[in-house]
Amino acid sequence: MTDSTASAPKPSSSVKLVLLGEAAVGKSSLVLRFVNNDFQPNKEPTIGAAFLTQKCQLPSRTIKFEIWDTAGQERFASLAPMYYRNAQSALVVYDMTKPSSLVKAKHWVAELQRQASPGIVIALVGNKLDLCDDDDPEDEAQDGENAEGHEEEAVRKVSTAEAKAYAEEESLLFYETSAKTGHNVSEVFTAIANAIPETSLKGPRTGAGGGTQAAISGGQDTSRVNLNARGADGAAKEGCAC
């Protein structure tokens, strides 16, 4: 409520986040930057999928992100449904130097809006900002031609204005990032953490309001049973007496 003192423990909630986007746009790199503050230029693509966690401190609470990175196997288009099921947030990534990746990102956004939980918070992220020489993303009057010193693909191909307009239309959070330099990476996750409705974090019974985001009640602490409590031990001994 009011300014909490340093000693008082903040409430903590887990938030499931799924990463979606075309291969090689930098999904795994964004996670690596966020979780380990690291970047590996020629990282081997992950086999299978990856699961990582990272905490995000907000003034009033701690959010623990459970991050699912759908690596590699987008090829059969079968993994994503089990990752975005019950996910409270999604990071849909495109590569600003590759227009086709924005088309793919739009497909993902549409699929999330059709299939995922009604209250899911979606952030659209244009990655590889460091490859674009326009220091100020707002100002991209002339693009492409002035790119001496860069390889051909290493220039902005998706304008900020275009992606931003699309994000606004679909009510998505929008950021341009660089996993390489770290620019805006933690900002994306913080923005998502802030955008998760309180009602889907804790005590949905109090949030009697009729927003659709409350349609499926979120993790209510008082109903949660911890299987680790005494369960593992006690139950293991029982064997099959039947």
Binding site: V35, I47, G48, A49, A50, F51, L52, T53, K64, E66, W68, Q73, R75, F76, A77, S78, L79, P81, M82, Y83, R85, N86, Q115, A116, S117, P118, P204, R205, A208, T212, A214, A215, I216, S217, G218, G219, Q220, T222, S223, R224, V225, N226, L227, N228, A229, R230, G231, A232, G234, A235, A236, E238, C240, A241, C242
Partner: protein, 498 residues
Amino acid sequence: METLDGTEWDVVIADTGFASSLLALSLSRSGKRILHLDPNEYYGGAEAAFSLAEAETWALRWSESTDGATFSHASVTKPSLSGDSKLLSSRAYSLALAPHLIYARSNNVPALVSSQCHNQLDFQAVGSWFVLNPFDDALTSSSRLIRVPSSREDVFQDASLALKAKRALMKFLRFVASYEEQTETWNDSRDQSFSLFLEQKFGLPAASHEPIMALTMSTTPASSTTTGFALPRIAQHLRSIGIFGPGFGAVLPKWGGLAEIAQVACRAGAVGGGVYVLNKAIKEAAKVEQSDTIALTLDGNERVSTTWLCGSTETTRWTGCTPAVSEEDFTTISRSISIVSSPLSHLFPPTSEGGVTPAGAVVVVPSPDASEPPVHILVHTSDAGECPMDQSVAYASVALPSDTGYPRLERAISDLLLSAEDAQPELLWTLRYQQRTNLSTQALRESGGLINLPALRDDLVLDDSVLDGVRQAWQSITSEEQSVFMKFEAREGGEEEE
């Protein structure tokens, strides 16, 4: 999309049902090359969870009776006029084909914990058990719905019990606590009526049997429930109480029952490198002569080969590799899923002071005719993540085919709604379906690289045989020691907490 044609695998799993997904989890760090398929466009197979729209599509698909199919006679009704206005958006619901409860004392719990799966799952308490007597004008609503005392303290405090009955009941509960050591008391009655046993050995009058019977979750008629079946069930119930907290002994997985566990298990399979392809059925399988290989033909005529082919009886039944099953091995049950316009709070008294808020309750509706099976209803609150706030979901089931079963289910649900103390709850939406369960595959069946995994039993308790079957399958495939089954370290970055 890429093709699977010509690929070689160590293990092909034919569906993403509960047992098959647990197998994928158990193999997720084995280093085996695993192809995990499902003929449907969703995960979970016969244990899936659906939004309203998905459930309606599913009902259309299984409305008729297809030869050999698990589901049939499915239909959706919206009995209430106001149903449409009170129902929220389709995805505000996650309705479970397998809303099973899991006892603390079941082999599934340690496996979920040691495999690190529980970190990605939420479990909630199944609090109270009730007996609901059929509606009768002479009875008031409160006397029709009776909460089953589920511990000795409960019995002690129950004011409705006469002292003599209380003593007899306490004696019985004490006996159950160590029934294994007292074979002389019950061995002769093992295959006989449990009712008779209660009466003769403990002097419990017939009127007191229903609450005891309710704890067995037996799907068979009261008259044919045997002592040998009932005792371990009641013992499991009582011994589970208090393990995860005071006042309850069973849990349910949030967000759609066993479907949720299946998906978490598949995710672990994917993290381990398994390849997942939905919408892909196996059309044919043939053992390749003089080799350890099975050649498979998939939808779209892709051909792949594998050493092992695993799956439920249904998803492997077209492959030509399946051992024959006889019609007698099947039981037929009727089930319904009802969305109710009220939280039905009278079914969810607190588990204990300051304890967890229960999200599940069990209501057993005995038949007035002891030769007829009871109806079991699992009621889930909105905390279970299956429906919006201020609504609830009632999963009902009876071991009868649809023609006789549906009327029983309907009656039971309407009696349940009549028992509510608050403003008359309405039925907003109901899905009914008939389900065939192959009881013979409760044990694992294996022949020449083909493994049929066990089906869930026909009641609403997740029993130990499913995981036992998965363990056997895992052992055949990996030749590992039993003791390392489902024992995994937390993955890097997925560190454990609390």
